[in-house]
Symmetry: C2
Subunit: 424 residues, 2 copies
C-alpha cells in the first residue's frame, strides 16, 4: 500500500520527492562496445546482436510490403477505428502548433524572422516486449509527418506486433526495421548498409536503450529528452471521486515496478477513501503484482493548505498531474512544473496517453522543471533570417561598430562599416 | 590563405566539411573533480578554484550595488546608446515569439491546449578573457526576462569588465557572481551558500566549461545546446561585393584560431576576387594572427551549379550562412540546415551578432541539422493541458479502452471505463 506522509516538514521535501536513482555507469561499457561494433561493422554487428539478444536470426531487417499487408489483416476493425480516432485528435492538436512566419522590422530597413524547418532525418525507437507501444508511433510519427521530415525510420525489436506495423503504415512510415535495443540506437546514429543515419532519435526504452541514447547524444546526435520511469501526481480534494483517483493511480502503477505515484491532498479523509478504493480495484488487474510493487514505493502526502500543495507539486515537477479539485483551472494556473495537466474529474491520464490529442512523450524524473514534452517543435529547427537594406545597415551600423570594438573584435566592426560607407 | 577546392566529388564532402574534433575526454577527470568539490564544499571550493585559476582572492563573489554603480560610470555614453539600440531590437524580435494559448477541441467535450511557462531558475555563464562578451548578456538575459524566469543568475570570471556589469543591470539581472570556469558551472548546477541552484544553464565557454556543461547535463540539469567553435559559410555569386565577403570571412576568422570559414561559389572569379580582398583587409586587423590561423583551416569551395551549392551547404549545416547572390530569397528557401541566414549584400553576420534582433547563440559543428538557436522557447517549458467533460470521456473512452487493452494495460482502460460508466 501507499505510505501516508502527514504534514511533511519543508526541509524533508527534497528527500521525500526523490526519484529512485538509476546509475547507468555499470552499463556504459557494455553499451559502448555494442555501439562501437555497430559503427564499425554495420549490418553484420546488428545481425549478431539480434541473434544474441532477441534470439532471432534475420536475413533482412527491413519490414516488407507483404509483412505490412499481413499485419494489417491481424488488427481488428474496432482497434483500427480506435487508432484512427486517436490519430485524428493527435493530428488536430499538433497541427495547431504550426508557427506562421512573422516578419519583424526591428529598425527601419532591418527585417528579421524565423521559420520552422523539418529535421531532415529522424529515427523512432519503439520497444517490444509485453506491451507493444503502438500508441507511441502515433505520438512520434504524426508530428514527424506534420513537420515534414523527409526520412522517418522506425526500429523495433523482433517479433514485431501487428499493431505496430499497422500503426506505422497508417501514419505513413515506410521504413520499419526489426532491430531492437542498443543495436537499433547504434544503427540509427551511425547508419549501416540498410539503415540510414539520422539526426535525431526519439522514443522510450529500457536502461540499455536510455544509456545508448545518452552516449550518442554526447556525440552530437540529438535525442528527444532524458528518460526515466513514468509517474503521476494526483491532487485531490473532497470534490474528487475516490474511485476515479484510485483508477488513475493504478493506471500509472501498472506501468512498471519502478513507476512513481503520488497523491496529494489537504484532506486526510480523501486519502483514506482513495486507499480503500485502491484495495478494491487492484485485484481486478492483470498486472496486479507490478502495480503493488509500484504502490509500495509511492506516497500519499497530506499537506496543510492549497499553497503548500502547489509548492510541493512544483518541487516534484510530475510528468503527469491530475487536478481533481474544485476550481481546477485557477489551481492549474499556479503550476509551473509539470509535463501535462489533466483537469477535473473526467480527465484521466489514460485519455492523454492515447487519444485526447496531447503528446504522451513527456519529461519524467523532475525534468519538467526545464524540459517540455514532445511536440511539433521537437521535429523542426527554427532558423532565423535577417535581411538589411543599405539604409538598414546604416541605421544599426554604428551600434554594431561600437559594440564590436568594445568586445575587441575589429573585423566584426569592419564588416558593418565597409557596407555603411560603400559608395555605389 | 584559404585553400581552394575545385569541384569536389560528392564522396569527398563528408571529409571536406568535417569540423576539427575536440576530444574532451582528457579533461573529463579534472572537470569532474572540480565539479564534485564544488558540490560537496560549496563556496569554499569556489573560493579555492578562483584563487587557483583566476589568481584572485575574493571574500564575496556577489557583485554589490556599489560595483554596479561604479561600472556604469565607466561605460561611455555612446556605447550605452548602442547597447540600448541592440536591446530594443532583440526585445522586439524575441517578444514576437510569445505564443498565444489556443484551445483545440479535438473531439466534442475534449479540450486540449498548451501554455508556455517560464523555467523558474536559469543560470547564464559569460566568459571573461580578451573579449568581454556583454552582447551575449543581451542575447540570453532579454529572452529570460521576457519569458518571466523568476531567478536569473549570471556568473562571469573576475575581474569583471564594466560593460558586462552595465549590460546585466540594463536587462534587469541583479544576481551577478564573480565566478568563472568549471567552478561557476558547478555552483549553478548544485548551488552553494551564495549561489542558488538553477534548472538550466546557458552560455559559451572554453573547452573546460563546455565539458562541465556536458557533465552536469548528464545529471539532469538542462543546457542551451552543445557547443563548438564559431563558423560562417558565405555563398556568393558575381552579384556579391568581394570586399564585403572578405570582411565577413575575416570577422568570423578573428574569433579564434579554431574558427571555421567556408566560401562557396559557382564562379571561380568570385573566389579569386574575395581572396584578393582578404589579403588587402587582413593587415588592418588587431587580431590578424588569429585570423590568419583560422583562414589556414578554411576552404573556398568551387561547385558546379546552384543545386550542388544548396546540397553542400545543407550537408555542412553552418551556424551562420550569408547568401550574397541574386535571388537570395528563393535560394534561402532551399536551405534546410543553418542556424541563422543573412540575406543579400547588406546583411553582415556582425549585424546578427549584435543588433539586428536575432539571437547570436546558435548551433555550431553541424548541430544546425537538429538544433535551433536560443530563442524565447529556450527559457520556457510548454505544458500541455486537457479537460474532458463527462460526455468528452464517453466520446473517446472506447478508443482509450481498446488501445490500452491492446497494449496490455488494463488499469489504463479502467481509468476511462470507470468514468464513462459512472452514474451520478
Amino acid at each position: 500500500m501507499m505510505q501516508v506522509i502527514r504534514y511533511p516538514d519543508r526541509n524533508s521535501w527534497e528527500e521525500l520527492l526523490k526519484r529512485p536513482v538509476f546509475d547507468n555507469s555499470s552499463l556504459e561499457k557494455t553499451v559502448t562496445n555494442v555501439l562501437q561494433d555497430v559503427k564499425q561493422n554495420g549490418d553484420a554487428a546488428v545481425k549478431k546482436y539480434t541473434e544474441q539478444f532477441d534470439k532471432v536470426n534475420l536475413e533482412n531487417f527491413k519490414v516488407s510490403k507483404e509483412e505490412f499487408a499481413a499485419a494489417s489483416k491481424l488488427v481488428s476493425a474496432e482497434l483500427k477505428k480506435a487508432i484512427q480516432q486517436a490519430k485524428n485528435n493527435i493530428t488536430k492538436f499538433h497541427e495547431a502548433q504550426k508557427e506562421k512566419v512573422k516578419i519583424i522590422e526591428t529598425t527601419k530597413g532591418v527585417k528579421c524572422w524565423r521559420k520552422s524547418v523539418a529535421i531532415d532525418k529522424v529515427g523512432l525507437y519503439i520497444p517490444g516486449g509485453s506491451a507493444p507501444l503502438f500508441s507511441t508511433i502515433l505520438m512520434l510519427g504524426i508530428p514527424a509527418k506534420l513537420a515534414g521530415c523527409k526520412e522517418i525510420i522506425l526500429c523495433t525489436p523482433p517479433d514485431v506486433n501487428p499493431a505496430i506495423l499497422y500503426t506505422a503504415q497508417l501514419v505513413g512510415i515506410k521504413k520499419v526495421f526489426k532491430i531492437g535495443g542498443v543495436q537499433a540506437i547504434g544503427a540509427m546514429a551511425y547508419g549501416t548498409e540498410t539503415v540510414s543515419k539520422v539526426y535525431k532519435i526519439f522514443g522510450p526504452g529500457n536502461q540499455y536503450v536510455t544509456c545508448a541514447k545518452q552516449l550518442i547524444n554526447k556525440e552530437g546526435i540529438a535525442i528527444d529528452m532524458p528518460a526515466g520511469p513514468s509517474e503521476v501526481a494526483v491532487w485531490a480534494d473532497k470534490t474528487c471521486v475516490p474511485a476515479f483517483v484510485a483508477a488513475d493511480l493504478l493506471s500509472q502503477a501498472e506501468h512498471g515496478a519502478d513507476s512513481q505515484v503520488i497523491l496529494i491532498s489537504t484532506d486526510e479523509n480523501v486519502i483514506q477513501r482513495v486507499q480503500t478504493e485502491i484495495n478494491l480495484q487492484v485485484n481486478a488487474l492483470s498486472r496486479k503484482e507490478i502495480a503493488l510493487k509500484a504502490l509500495a514505493n509511492s506516497k500519499a502526502i497530506l499537506v496543510k493548505n492549497t499553497k503548500e500543495a502547489i509548492e510541493i507539486i512544483n518541487e516534484y515537477a510530475p510528468e503527469h498531474l491530475i487536478i481533481s479539485c474544485k476550481n481546477e483551472d485557477a489551481l492549474a494556473a499556479k503550476i509551473t512544473n509539470a509535463g501535462s495537466i489533466f483537469l477535473g474529474n473526467y480527465s484521466p491520464e489514460s485519455a492523454g496517453d492515447y487519444a485526447s490529442g496531447t503528446n504522451h512523450t513527456l519529461p519524467t524524473n523532475g525534468y519538467a522543471k526545464s524540459y517540455s514534452g514532445v511536440s511539433l517543435d521537437s521535429f523542426v529547427k527554427k532558423i532565423t533570417f535577417q535581411k538589411l537594406t543599405k539604409q538598414g545597415i546604416k541605421n544599426i551600423g554604428k551600434t554594431v561598430e561600437l559594440m564590436a570594438a568594445a568586445e575587441g573584435l575589429d573585423a566584426h566592426a569592419r564588416a558593418a562599416s565597409i557596407r555603411s560607407k560603400y559608395k555605389k
